[in-house]
């Protein structure tokens, strides 16, 4: 554990005095109550907190999915909170990658076409998009599974296809919302190993929303949230990463493996139930 932050790095993505309020008057809920956060290029950040702490809302604001009530989100020094919806949509497609808990692969498309989708949506010719996606799948240990449908893949394999899709457009940052939430612990560790290593290889920053400390340990920094505010930040020792299961190490040979660290200081222990956010937030 390294209790002090490393030297200041250039800022890729930043939240400044971010507030998000749902509802008005006495029933108003402050999902974000003034969040400040900076993310450096190629940095991996876990956003942790109990249900209703505002972590998913923060991810949605950082990714330009929703517009905050006040404050700014700076992506490469441009305030994306002030962009129009169509501009934010285009930005998400071109600059960001996304991995969700489940439900992100189209069941009618084989794995390689699912992974190629963002490139085709961006106007790349199909053959080139499919070839690029096939290379990504191969890098993630899915060579030979290109033509399988999502229903013919295991949960871990499906998540790797989703990771390939998130990475295929060489995004600057990957947002992952509970990426292992639907997986068992071993498969979850495999997926986190693939995700962090693949993001590092491609030079993308990684923002992971999770309530699971074992998932957060894969990131270089953990931001703890409580009641819509950042309640603490924890840095992992430089160069450390948990050990991935043996099956995974074969698929991600370029990533450095290190002995498993001692358990981290648990960020934001769940002392009291936080209020639920409205509108299905904080899933």
């Amino acid at each position: 554990m390294q209790p002090t932050p490393p030297p200041p790095a250039p800022v890729l993505l930043a939240a400044r005095s971010l507030q998000m309020v749902y509802g008005t008057g006495p029933t108003a809920t402050h999902a974000l109550a003034g969040v400040d956060l900076s993310i450096a290029p190629a940095e991996s950040v876990a956003i942790m907190g109990p249900s209703g702490s505002g972590k998913t809302t923060l991810l949605h604001c950082l990714a330009g999915i929703v517009r905050p009530t006040s404050g700014s989100v700076l992506w490469r020094e441009q305030d994306i909170a002030s962009l129009k919806d169509t501009q934010r949509t285009a930005l998400r497609r071109s600059d960001f990658g996304f991995v969700f808990q489940s439900g992100q692969l189209l069941p009618e498309l084989p794995a390689v076409e699912n992974a190629a989708l963002p490139l085709m949506l961006g106007g790349m010719p199909r053959a080139q998009a499919v070839a690029t996606a096939a290379v990504r799948l191969g890098e993630l240990g899915l060579a030979g599974m290109e033509d399988r449908r999502p229903g013919e893949l295991s949960g871990g394999q499906a998540q790797r296809v989703a990771i390939a899709r998130a990475l295929v457009g060489s995004p600057g940052v990957i947002f992952a919302d509970e990426p292992t939430g639907a997986l068992d612990q071993t498969t979850g560790a495999e997926v986190m190993a693939v995700l962090t290593q693949a993001a590092a290889r491609s030079g993308a920053a990684l923002v992971v929303v999770t309530h699971d400390p074992t998932v957060a340990r894969w990131c270089s920094r953990t931001v703890a949230m409580r009641d819509g505010l950042v309640s603490g930040e924890f840095y992992a020792p430089t160069g450390h990463q948990p050990t991935a299961p043996a099956t995974q190490q074969a698929t991600a040979p370029s990533a450095p493996q290190a002995p498993a660290p001692a358990p981290q200081q648990a960020p934001a222990p769940q002392q009291a139930p936080a209020p639920q956010q409205p509108g299905g937030q904080g899933r």
């Binding site: 990714a63 071109s94 439900g103 989708l117 949506l121 199909r126």
Partner: protein
């Protein structure tokens, strides 16, 4: 049963708030049941009117033929009507899959889950069917303006009577119950309710062989057309319809494979893959219109002989003109049914894939791409099947037109415009599902 009834009432109360997206599917399903019931009763009312006219003292010699054609037209509409009812029932179930799977996990028995579904579908079907009866009553004055046998219909002629209305209500509810139960099987089988999508099995070339055989039989029978009666024509049409329903999905599957293979954009690729994935659903959307197009084409030929210049007697001219009107009417009703079916089926698909839609939307996918994929999923089979039907119908027309009746090109124009309108209705139905997409991706 008591427990199921109590549970259903509880869930119904809980699901009734205005913020529940389930309301949207409920509304759509009820509209679909209402349209199906109203049009079913209109068609039955029409058949009844011709039966009454044929039974009346001093009926024309052609009166029995009118009854026969009315039954044929009704027969053609049975499948689109059933399809619409089934689509409505599947939609009623679509949104409930997750909830019912959760109930199974919580310990509900297969019987209870099935019971809940049947109650849901029945409630919606009964509501829709009752609204459909109101719609039928509202349509009667409009339908009475149609001229057949040289006169418009009396309102009383188009009134089916209470027993028929009750039978129609029962039929609609039965379709709803059967379809919803069948579409729920996977939830009932496994508490996880997971619909694993795997490589869909390809449709066999046997279907194509059946089509070739049917065409040969049809050719042999039609060459001896002079010797066969109307009943044989009716049987041939039913056989033709059955054959089309075998061959149609196969055609859509082949077209889907070609589309997916040649696709350059994401929208076309998605449309092609979906057609391969479920060619039967794609066919259901367009099949009724395709067949009605062919029938309307054949019927419109008869109108060529109804003009004074054709040399037909006034009685024959009137009969042939009426056949053409009936053909167009069938096409119109088939188009309307297909439009509602397509809208309902597409809405059901969107709801079933709401998580994928939401994930794609969050990842920056322009919703217009997904809209475009759904439109192409309907448009491509529509163009292929309706285009083929219209092409064959025009092939039948051309020799007749070539026989010194160039002045009758207006018939071709009328036919093409009618087909265009029917196809437009179907596309409008597909476009209506956009609202559902906006609803399900809302963050």
């Amino acid at each position: 049963m008591t427990a199921t009834w109590s549970l259903w009432r509880l869930l119904r109360r809980r699901g009734a708030s205005s913020s529940d997206p389930q309301r949207l599917t409920t509304t759509l399903a009820i509209i679909a049941f209402a349209v199906a019931t109203a049009l079913l009763l209109v068609v039955l009312g029409g058949v009844g009117a011709f039966v009454d006219r044929a039974a009346a003292p001093g009926a024309d010699a052609d009166a029995e033929s009118y009854v026969m054609f009315a039954w044929i037209a009704s027969g053609l509409l049975v499948v689109p009507l059933t399809t619409l009812g089934a689509a409505a029932a599947r939609l009623a179930v679509a949104r409930r899959d997750a909830r019912l799977a959760a109930l199974r996990l919580a310990g509900a028995s297969t019987g209870q889950v099935t019971g809940l579904t049947v109650l849901d579908a029945t409630a919606q079907a009964v509501t829709g069917a009752l609204l459909g009866v109101v719609g039928y009553l509202a349509l009667i004055p409009l339908v009475s303006l149609l001229r057949f046998q040289g006169r418009t219909f009396e309102l009383a002629e188009l009134w089916t009577g209470v027993p028929i209305i009750l039978a129609a209500l029962a039929a609609v509810v039965l379709i709803a119950v059967v379809s919803s139960t069948m579409s729920l099987r996977r939830v009932a089988i496994t508490p996880l309710g997971v619909a694993n999508r795997v490589q869909p099995p390809g449709l066999t070339w046997l279907r194509a062989a059946v089509a070739v055989g049917a065409v040969i039989v049809f050719a042999v029978v039609t060459t001896s057309f002079g010797q066969v009666g109307l009943s044989v024509i009716g049987v041939m049409l039913v056989l033709g319809f059955t054959t089309l329903n075998l061959v149609g999905p196969f055609t859509v599957w082949v077209v889907g494979r070609v589309t997916a293979h040649r696709a350059r954009t994401a929208a076309t690729l998605l449309a092609g893959r979906r057609m391969i994935d479920d060619p039967k659903t794609a066919w259901r959307s367009v099949g009724g219109v395709a067949l009605a197009t062919f029938i309307a084409g054949l019927a419109s030929i008869t109108s060529l002989f109804s003009s004074a210049s054709s040399g037909a007697s006034p009685e024959d001219a009137q009969f042939l003109g009426d056949v053409a009107t009936g053909g167009y009417l069938t096409l119109g009703i088939a188009g309307l049914l297909a439009a509602v079916s397509t809208g309902v089926m597409q809405a059901g698909n969107v709801i079933a894939q709401r998580e994928e839609y939401r994930a794609l939307s969050l990842a920056g996918t322009d919703l217009r791409v997904l809209d475009s994929a759904r439109m192409r999923e309907t448009f491509i089979p529509l163009v292929v099947t309706v285009g083929t039907s219209a092409g064959f119908a025009l092939l039948f027309m051309l020799p007749v037109l070539g026989a010194g009746m160039i002045a009758q090109w207006s018939v071709v124009v009328q036919f093409v415009v009618s087909v265009g309108v029917a196809a437009g209705l179907v596309l409008a139905g597909a476009a209506a599902s956009r609202t559902v997409v906006r609803e399900v991706v809302r963050v």
